[in-house]
Symmetry: C2
Subunit: 327 residues, 2 copies
Amino acid sequence: MREIVLATRPQGEPKESDFELREVDAREPGDGEVLVRNVFVSVDPYMRGRMTGIRTYVDGFDVGAAIVGGAVGRVVASRHEGLSEGDWVSSMLGWRDGGIVEGSTLRKLDPRVAPPSTALGALGMPGFTAWIGLEDVGQVKDGETIYVSGAAGAVGSAAVQIAKRKGLRVIGSAGSEEKVEWLRSLGTEAFNYRETPAREALADGIDVYFDNVGGDQLEAALTALRPFGRVIACGSISRYNDEKPQPGPRNMAFIVTKRLRVQGFIVTDHTDRFGDFVRQVGPWVADGTFEARETVIEGLENVPAAFAGLFHGENTGKMLVRVGPDG
Amino acid sequence: MREIVLATRPQGEPKESDFELREVDAREPGDGEVLVRNVFVSVDPYMRGRMTGIRTYVDGFDVGAAIVGGAVGRVVASRHEGLSEGDWVSSMLGWRDGGIVEGSTLRKLDPRVAPPSTALGALGMPGFTAWIGLEDVGQVKDGETIYVSGAAGAVGSAAVQIAKRKGLRVIGSAGSEEKVEWLRSLGTEAFNYRETPAREALADGIDVYFDNVGGDQLEAALTALRPFGRVIACGSISRYNDEKPQPGPRNMAFIVTKRLRVQGFIVTDHTDRFGDFVRQVGPWVADGTFEARETVIEGLENVPAAFAGLFHGENTGKMLVRVGPDG
């Protein structure tokens, strides 16, 4: 089996040379363990922070260690009750062909309900992040106007679709005409932030801002927010590769004058709500009315490139790497 | 009677030449009206924003119009039921010797309960701002550590004393050794921000930041805040004289990674809580255990200088101008 290890801490944009592919010996699963073969591995923007080695809400990655993260695969051999050969499971195996894991840490997936890969996107961490952000953090209400930056990404595209269903007027931004077209097909107003300044696009005002991007988009949103508006502070992908901290918004004063609430959150604090999320969003994904779009790259050796691509907007919807066949 | 009008919109720091003293004719009060002679007029940092002429949560001041704001004085003649000659009242008469007002807009003060001037400070808008910020916005709890910037100001000195009584560990900053000594005498840990970087002084971490200052203090507080910390965003006096918007904190990313809540507020949204505030803080001021310190400048003609002095920290506690005798 092969795995990808962090060879060195990235400086600025992650490069392929920051990672190394390493062969590891397979072994048999012990008591309670399961041998899993990965089919899809996930690349996510939050992983960039872990590569700095600084502990935040989660430990940093160690140099020389395999990159752990979301993965979906199939059971090859199981010594854990309730899991047997051929089962689809989601794991935190990360950037590997597969491996041995404690069976209790696996979530069994039913491929008849939804494609297993959606456990890494619309029905996994990104979709859950969008749902928690809207539902519990932003407490969005029917009739409000929301702006979602990074709207064609994994979290963003879930956020716009959930917000739409909750009766909001939804404005989304993305970095290409193709993505903008897709967002429009989802019923949202959309603009290309490379062509239209957010300040112009949001001139009518907004009630809520779902921030995936930070930087200029956050500044524009603070200007556009109406009194008592909220910022659902989810991420700031425009900043993750900064080597030196960059200045924040020049219009922080609006937080006071407009009585804004800026609330950060991390989805792993809300795992007790995962069941509620799946009960609500699962049926929409299952019946196809919720579009769980994916950008799929082939081959474990291409995981670093796929990861780097996140910072250039190379994904529409969830970015995944297929590392093995379905069957 | 005399009044001070806005002669021109200040550029940067307010100067005396931005204001003009004007004579106005007195008239007799009509039905329901009261003639009030001001004893104290209030200068407050928030007035700087109104001088820009931009409407935020409140209208801008017009050039050529008298500056309205908090004042405390005595009734000279009344045609409003419930008020009679000699009564102490608080009004929004602002920077004048006095004037005619609708009796229904006046609050009658009992000088036996607390000195009438406290209606502009500890028992008025600044004290109420501190209380609402801690109680409703920050929802501070016994045992937490709070950092208050501008701690020797009208709002700050109320905030540190209220927080102390609520069982918090209180750290305050101010700009002189004298103020720091005073803050220590109030039972708070205190430092001079001109000598000690806030980042150092807050190295042990804080749970809540009561922001009166913005800028560098906000940045230092975002670094010092523990996970799930809150910012009570009250004001940013370090920024009010900026002609060009200045960059915000370089560490906004902490809002997400530490799941911080930054909540702006304006005290006038909370007037339904004023009674609760007075019932709680009033007795402390009355029995002298709450120190309602004031810096009192003499003479209506010196109101602009007193106002400008706020931005140089010339006040300890509430800055007031005495424009007439008590009796």
